[in-house]
Amino acid sequence: MMSMTPRENYWKVVNHEEGQWVPIFWGGTNSSIVPQHYGALCKELGIPDYKRPVGDFGTVNLHPILIERLHSDVELLALGSPHRRYLDGGLIEDTMWGFRMKEVGGYRVFPDQIAPLRQAKTIEEIEGHPIWPNPDDPAYYYGARERAQKLYDTGKIVLGEASYAGSPFFVYPWLRGMDQWMIDPYDHPDLYRHLAQKIVDYSAVILERWLDEVGQYLDVLCFYDDIAMQTGPMVSLDHYRKWILPYEKQLTDLARRLTNAKFSIHCCGSCYDLLPGFIEVGYEILNPVQTRAKNMEAWRLKKGYGDRLSFYGGVDVQRLLPFGTVEEVRQGVKDLIKTLGPNGGFLFATSHNIEPDTPPANIIAMFDAAYEFGRYPITNL
């Protein structure tokens, strides 16, 4: 029998102590399940009345039965978002920043070719972009405090997602194109500084107002940054420190004044070499811990950074979960808990959103195994 609440247990674990169990994180915008596969999982678990899944990446409106059945310790509290506009040619326009998405194969993608500021060469052209966030839009904050308090009162871990006010370097490449984002510091440094700062300035105002409402209730606050590939970081640690860190740190410094939550950074891929930079920004939790990527093995992370970072993720969604047997999945979960669990610092989740080629039976087996094996003290596994 567990005597701690999920929150009490989480705070021990995230402070690198052994709690009563390894917290199970299922229900964020990452380390969730892609919307196009959500129905299959609901059907497998006999949940016929599920709502249409919502989310640009992972499903954010998981059915409460699903959260309960798969032993999740978290409840999601995401920053509200303004509506989306559907344009001709299958394009979807974000009304917060004015970037454009397209649905391809069930995924929302952000083609460089249609990034609205792709051709800009001057600061004037950046300023001419017609859509910037309106911090007074109530959509960001509507009902946030009440919902936060309600979630807090459940005793579960409140997982705050700063969404598009916590992801300046998602927004930059979506406005400029990925390749331009990478070379702007060299080809157009003034433009880069101007646009990055502008994104941060707007983000900061919204983040501050939202955290004024919900900050005291949050246990985790998620920021996002995708700057790594399967084989290594996209940019060097020097580039990160010079061109990315100063902007991200403005947001974490601001948030630090308004919440005691631990800060999580989402960065897919092989980001091992960037971890010193992440720590300098003030991030304390790494997500989604893509253990199949280069240098991202669980043992390496634990050995190198286990005392400074907690790991939120880790179960391989590229091979193990889609292609493994139920038995292999259980073994994989056991191995991961054995490696990352001791001395706390492990928040059990998948290494990204679960993909459509994953058998629902494997998903259920994974969470059941985490529930079964993730009991402290972790011995004899």
């Binding site: 397209k102 391809v104 194969g105 995924y107 993608v109 083609p111 460089d112 070719q113 990925m178 390749d179 990478m182 070379i183 510091p185 060299y186 080809d187 590939m229 399967q230 084989t231 290594g232 970081p233 996209m234 940019v235 060097s236 580039h239 590229q318 889609p322 993909e355 459509p356 080629d357």
Partner: protein, 216 residues
């Protein structure tokens, strides 16, 4: 003669690289030699530095831009037919997938080595690949995919080519983050390349193979 251009390119010094190319052209150096012995080894060094973790994606993209600028000076001077001798390559990202950063880097690398590359873009359906290979008279087809759920499209394209008596000899090269040699073998691709440098090596091998075959 080529050490300066190689150095400028591999150090990502655009202005210097362009100046060196202009000097070489001014000195009457054969433009094909400039590509072969100047631009290519420079790009090889960039690729090496990327593979060994000294260069990163921004560096590769910058190198691509520098090569484009250099090639723009040299290419008009190439005797016609020179790049045709190397053969035409059709390149695209498969249906359902819009990732093209890697593909574009591969294209600039292949072009700078003298290949004629026809880029048919992203989210390319099977029929479009087949049609492009036919109309361009390509000897090689390159396909890219970044998602496990889209890489299966490659097999469909390969089988469409193999089932076409006029196109079954076309060599197919595949690449992209979720792929490996094993997968490439399983779907019947002729080559797998994990990065731009490998893509060039493999493309040269396949092109040589075809040239020898034609010669015999």
């Amino acid at each position: 003669m080529f050490s300066k251009i190689i150095r400028a390119l591999s150090d990502l010094d655009k202005e210097k690289a362009i100046r060196e190319i202009e000097n070489l052209i001014g000195d009457g150096v054969d433009p094909f030699e400039i590509i072969q012995n100047g631009i290519m080894p420079g790009m090889d060094l960039v690729g090496e530095r990327f593979e060994t973790g000294h260069y990163f994606l921004p560096d590769l993209i910058r190198a691509g831009h520098i090569v484009d600028a250099c090639s723009a000076l040299v290419k008009p001077l190439l005797k016609s037919g020179r790049s045709d001798e190397m053969g035409t390559i059709v390149m695209g990202t498969v249906a359902g997938d819009i990732h093209d950063l890697g593909k574009n880097i591969v294209i600039s690398t292949l072009e700078s080595a003298g290949f004629k590359v026809v880029d048919i873009g992203v989210d390319v359906p099977v029929e479009r690949f087949v049609e492009a290979v036919r109309t361009e008279g390509a000897v090689l087809l390159g396909m890219s995919a970044l998602l496990t759920v889209t890489m299966v499209e490659m097999e469909k394209v390969i089988s469409a080519l193999r089932n076409d008596s006029g196109l079954k000899h076309i060599k197919v090269m595949v690449g992209g983050a979720p792929l490996d040699q094993k997968y490439a073998d399983a779907i019947g691709a002729d080559a797998y390349a994990k990065d731009a440098r490998q893509a060039l090596i493999k493309a040269r091998e396949l092109a040589d193979m075809l040239l020898k075959k034609n010669a015999s």
